[in-house]
Every structure is written in structure tokens, then in C-alpha cells.
Symmetry: none
Subunit: 145 residues, 2 copies
């Protein structure tokens, strides 16, 4: 499962290399293919193909004849993009996702168990320091279930 954070550069073609430490955890079933979508909060979610398929199964259960469910599906898929790693273990992130995450020339790559998140370092720092609650408070709330 993915974990840890890494700072990498992103070149002018939108390419980001997947850290070797994270690559180890990619299942062979993913076929070096990834699906990226806009994430919760200003980041990009990157799912190895096999993990994405479990998300897709949930989405397939939505009833697209209901306006609200249709809207969610559009929001979720409008910036979705599939790509394979090149021989140098890089993927290309399209411009609309970079805009969404306010990314310029550096990215913060965050391992998040089943998926990888891509942040603008600046935005991520702001996000972390934005909450009033301490780590201990949130921990006790979320983990006591």
C-alpha cells in the first residue's frame, strides 16, 4: 500500500515520474496503467488500473436517469484520464488536472494506501495548516469508530 511523501519536478510536457518507493506496491494486474481524477480537496488522485476498477464498479451502480447522480458522474469523470507509464516510469498529467490542483513546476506526491495523490507543495502546506483541530483531536474522533 502506498505511503510517504516525495517532491518531484514536473516538466513542460506535464510528465511526472512515479517514485521508485511507490512503484514497488503497484500490482502487476495494473499493467503499468493509471487512472487520474480530480480528488477530494485540491489534489489529483492517481489509481493503479486495478484499484480504479473497484471505483468504477461503484459508479456503474448509479442511475443516470436521476439528475443528481448524473451530475456526480459528470464531475467525477470530466477530468478523468488514463495513461501508462513510459519506459522511465513517468505519466503525463493533462493540463486541466494541473489547473485544478494549481500545480506549476513542482509536485508533492503523497502515498495514500490504494491511491497516490499529487499536490502543489504550496497548496498542501496551506491545507495542512488550515484546520483548527489538532492531529490528536481528529485521531480520537475518526479512529474511535
Amino acid at each position: 500500500m502506498f505511503k510517504g511523501q516525495f517532491i518531484h519536478s514536473i516538466d513542460n510536457k506535464g510528465r511526472v515520474s512515479i517514485p521508485a518507493k511507490l512503484r514497488k506496491y503497484i500490482a502487476p494486474e495494473a499493467n503499468n496503467s493509471f487512472v487520474m481524477t480530480q480528488g477530494i480537496d485540491a489534489c489529483i488522485d492517481i489509481y493503479p488500473r486495478d484499484q480504479w476498477l473497484t471505483i468504477e464498479e461503484k459508479l456503474l451502480k448509479l442511475n443516470t436517469f436521476i439528475q443528481k447522480e448524473s451530475r456526480f458522474l459528470r464531475l467525477m469523470l470530466q477530468n478523468a484520464h488514463e495513461d501508462e507509464m513510459d519506459a522511465q516510469s513517468r505519466i503525463v498529467i493533462p493540463q486541466n488536472l494541473l489547473d485544478y490542483a494549481q500545480i506549476e513546476n513542482e509536485v508533492l506526491i503523497l502515498g495514500a494506501l490504494k491511491k497516490i495523490e499529487i499536490w502543489s507543495p504550496r497548496v498542501y502546506n496551506a491545507y495542512i495548516s488550515s484546520s483548527q483541530e489538532t492531529f490528536e483531536q481528529i485521531a480520537s474522533e475518526v479512529m474511535s469508530l
Copy 2:
């Protein structure tokens, strides 16, 4: 399954090319044939033939001796149109559907799992920004089920 958005042009013959990224997901059983109908909200739904058949099965279960169901069937089928891709992977969209979706010379093509949606870029942006709810709110509502 279809995903992602693409801006393509529509020429004065009503032709739109299906993005190569979406073409990959069309089942061979579809025989390069598509059925287009008016969609939920101001867009055009494009189903590969094999996917359309599952919709058709549902429609066949409607009781046309009930006025409301009969009306729905008429609304659904009045602008339905079947067409095959040409050698350049384009389909022709009839004028009445273009009018319905308020399309002029550019289209936004949206992959939506089983189907492809065609929007006027202007109309789509208005649609997306029309809701008060954020992506995060809708996501937590719809996906927590």
C-alpha cells in the same frame, strides 16, 4: 468504460470525430454503430449499439397503455438516430439533436462510462457552475450509500 472530456469541432456537415481515447473502449459487438438520443439535461447521449440494446430492453418493459409511460417512450425515441462511424471515425449528428443541445461549431465530448455525451461547451460550463453544492459535498452524499 468511457471517461474524460474532449473539445472537438463539428463541421458544417454535422460531423464529429470520436476521440481515439474513447474509441479504445468501444466493444467490437457494437459494429462501429451508435444510437444517439436526447440526454438528461441539455446534451446528446451516444450509445454504442451493444449498450443501446440494454436500454432498449428496459424500454420494452414499459406499458404503453399507460399514458405517462407512453409519453416517455415518445420523448425518448422522437429524436433517436442510428449511425455508423465513417473511415475517419466520425459520426453525423442530425440537426434536431444539435438544436436540442444548442450546439454550434464546437462540441464538448464527455465520456460517461457506458455512453458518450455531447455538449455545447458554453452550456456545459453553465450547467457545472449552476449548482451550489461543491464536488466534495455531492461526492460524500452520493458515494456514502
